[in-house]
């Protein structure tokens, strides 16, 4: 039975979709579930899977065509099967009424109509690959199309094998365990050579909470777009940069007082308030000037100390995370930084950041204080050397040097640094210097 391939309706209010690219050629054998073509709606670009296994035939739309949803765009035939007359596309009024179905009871699909002479081998080869012979220039006697001509055309038309299927590398043991436990190998990052999935990887994945509910209802979200970028960058960072993490406790009394004064002034003059983030960015930028190793990058066995101090500020989004940059933060005023951060955050949430807004960062600050987090460890944003994780500021009992306990506003911040570049002592000096600035904001004037 021929199976029709339709332009699927993907969204509630969708009427059409645009064909971007066929991933399979006419005449090619496809397997059910294999990506067949790429289409684009007003919101997304998505791969359409083959609804059945067989041979792709009767493709009637091409790249750029805008096709109404639910319309038949191709067929999948079984070997030897013809395009049935009743399924012959009605959407082509120009088609003359065919007298009878073409009688070619062969197991291989019938060769496409030939407008040029071609050798039998070339015809068979072209048919097997769904190649239109009329598009090929023959180099044989009298312009006859030869096998070599078809092979040449195929080499040009076919995407590289790698792009067609991404085979998961996995050991036999990993495959067996995945089979036994119902784990999808393609979702597992392999720890072996060339990313090969090994038994331990599958066992770890199977032991995770995700696997326990695997039998129940699972919401599957493809790892793509921003999610995929984050996944890849964080994995790369964590695997290549040996992280050292250091935490300090900061008395934020003076900091809060200074901010209160600044904001009182802002209110009095009708200017926007100064955010905690802006002050942090300023303090970090200024401290980095004295600690160039934390503002560096490792490139080809060389450590590059960077002349500019560009601070990334991590911004949480509904579906991810983005880190826009305050360029030249050490040379900007707190008010300037505050306004710039506000603008960047707003545009990030609206999806209007430009490439310049997110590139060139040299150090990252991630503040999860607003989420009530006391302390956490962040993964370095490559190719930077370090990242600062800032927790919530809240009252805590603190003992002073004489042992007297008072309640002070306390914040914990954790520095993660790339140990290939920065040793513990260097990181410690930076962190304690930063604490000094935060505890004595007057030093920002230094």
């Amino acid at each position: 039975m021929a199976t029709s391939v339709i332009m699927p309706k993907l969204e509630m209010d969708q009427e059409t979709a645009t064909v971007i690219q066929w991933l399979k050629q006419e005449g090619e054998t496809v397997t059910k579930g294999e990506p067949l073509l790429v289409v684009e709606t007003s919101k997304i670009t998505i791969e359409i899977e083959a609804p059945a296994s067989g041979i792709l035939a009767g493709v009637r739309v091409g790249p750029g065509d805008v096709v109404p949803v639910t319309e038949v765009i191709a067929y999948i035939l079984q070997p030897g099967e013809e395009l049935p007359a009743e399924l012959t596309p009605e959407a082509e009024p120009a088609l003359p009424p065919s007298p009878a179905p073409a009688p070619t009871p062969d197991v291989t699909p019938s060769p496409p109509s030939v407008s040029r002479p071609a050798t039998p081998v070339a015809q068979r080869l072209a048919a097997a690959h769904g190649l239109d012979l009329s598009t090929i220039v023959g180099t044989g006697p009298g312009g006859e199309i030869t096998k070599a001509d078809v092979e040449k055309a195929l080499a040009v038309s076919q995407p590289p094998a790698e792009a067609q299927t991404e085979k998961v590398r996995a050991t036999p043991a990993a495959r067996r365990i995945a089979r036994e436990r119902g784990v999808d190998l393609s979702t597992i990052a392999g720890s072996g050579p060339r990313g090969r999935v090994q038994a331990a990887d599958v066992l770890a994945a199977a032991a995770g909470p995700a696997a326990e509910v695997a039998r129940a209802e699972v919401t599957v979200i493809p790892l793509q777009g921003m999610r995929r970028t984050i996944a890849e960058r964080m994995t790369a960072s964590y695997q290549t940069a040996p992280h050292i993490t250091l935490t300090v406790r900061v008395d934020m009394g003076a900091f809060e007082e200074a901010r209160a004064q600044l904001n009182a002034r802002a209110e009095a003059t009708g200017q926007p308030r100064i955010s905690v983030t802006a002050l942090l960015v300023k303090a970090v930028a200024q401290t980095l000037r004295r600690h160039p190793w934390l503002n560096s990058t490792l490139r080809d066995q060389e450590i590059h100390l960077l002349p500019e101090i560009n601070i990334n500020v991590a911004v949480a989004l509904d579906d991810g995370l983005i880190v826009p940059v305050v360029h030249g933060a050490d040379g900007k005023s707190v008010a300037e930084i505050s306004a710039e951060v506000r603008d960047l955050v707003a545009r990030a949430r609206e999806g209007r950041l430009t490439p310049a807004d997110v590139t060139g960062g040299t150090f990252t600050i991630s503040n999860l204080g607003p989420f009530g987090i006391e302390q956490f460890t962040a993964i370095i944003n490559p190719p930077q050397a370090a990242i600062l994780a800032v927790g919530i500021t809240r009252p805590e009992p603190v003992a002073d040097e004489e042992g007297r306990v008072t309640v002070r506003p306390v914040m914990r911040m954790t520095l993660s640094a790339d140990h290939r570049i920065v040793d513990g002592a260097v990181a410690a000096h930076f962190l304690t210097d930063l604490r000094e600035v935060l505890e004595n904001p007057i030093l920002l004037l230094w």
Partner: protein, 328 residues
Amino acid sequence: MRELSYAEAIREALRQEMQRDERVFIIGEDVGVYGGAFGVTLGLVEEFGEERVIDTPISELGIAGAITGAALTGMRPVGEIMFMDFTTLAMEQLVNQAAKIRFMFGGKAKVPFVLRTPAGSGTGAAAQHSQSLENWFVHVPGLKVVMPSTPYDAKGLLIASIRDDNPVIFIEHKLLYKVKGPVPEEPYTIPLGTAEVKREGRDLTIIATSIMVQRSLEAAQQLAEEGIEVEVIDPRTLKPLDKEPLIRSVMKTGRVLIVHEACKTGGYGGELAAVIAESEAFDYLDAPIIRLAGRDMPISYNRTLEYHTVPQVENIVQAARDLARGRM
């Protein structure tokens, strides 16, 4: 238990079998008063006389033919070829005659001989006295191939080989002759076709033959200090091969390193790898099957080059570690 060297264990097996069965005799070059090139048969001519410890001219093909003919007609000869390299001179009789007679004659004859021969490098004897040609014989149906790695195994396997009704190629290793180990005084047999787990472990299986068993055990000891538990298995007889213990071990560990001294290409490791890949252990493999073997080249005279031509303990440690840690 009393300790004997590998050479002494072999000599004791010969002596006990000659005492037990007068059909058993020794024949080879310089096996008499000289005691064999490596002294294995020292003293036997004094005990059993020149009629049962027969020196021959330098005639390897003649020796092979003599043991074939004698075995065919009721004797149980133990031939010796001074170096395994020289078995090449005896190939016709071994491969075309001894191995095939029983089959060709419809099972109505048998050729119960043992051909002892020392293999292996490490003595500075260069390219024509250092080869490990066991796989030449493994490929010939009708022959059994035995390769002991310890004094205990050498005695038990040699007695079993002498009592076996088939032509057995018994491959000794020159560097093992002086290695000592516990050996019971009374005669005993180790059935041909029984592998032995020489050390238990859960992380990795090493299948090794002959001297590589000793080197693998040494490597396993070192790796244990790193927390890697290696299982070492010695097939002991290459043919017939006792497959089950190998398969069971690989199903347990999921990783297998095969170590032998003979050149890698066409070596026995290829056979072992195929046996595992074809078995139910396939689905338990968590890494490629890795072979560590001699380079595909002759043995050099120069000591350093000779050393680096065949696997050494440090090579085994390295390969086993990489394999166990999922880096291969």
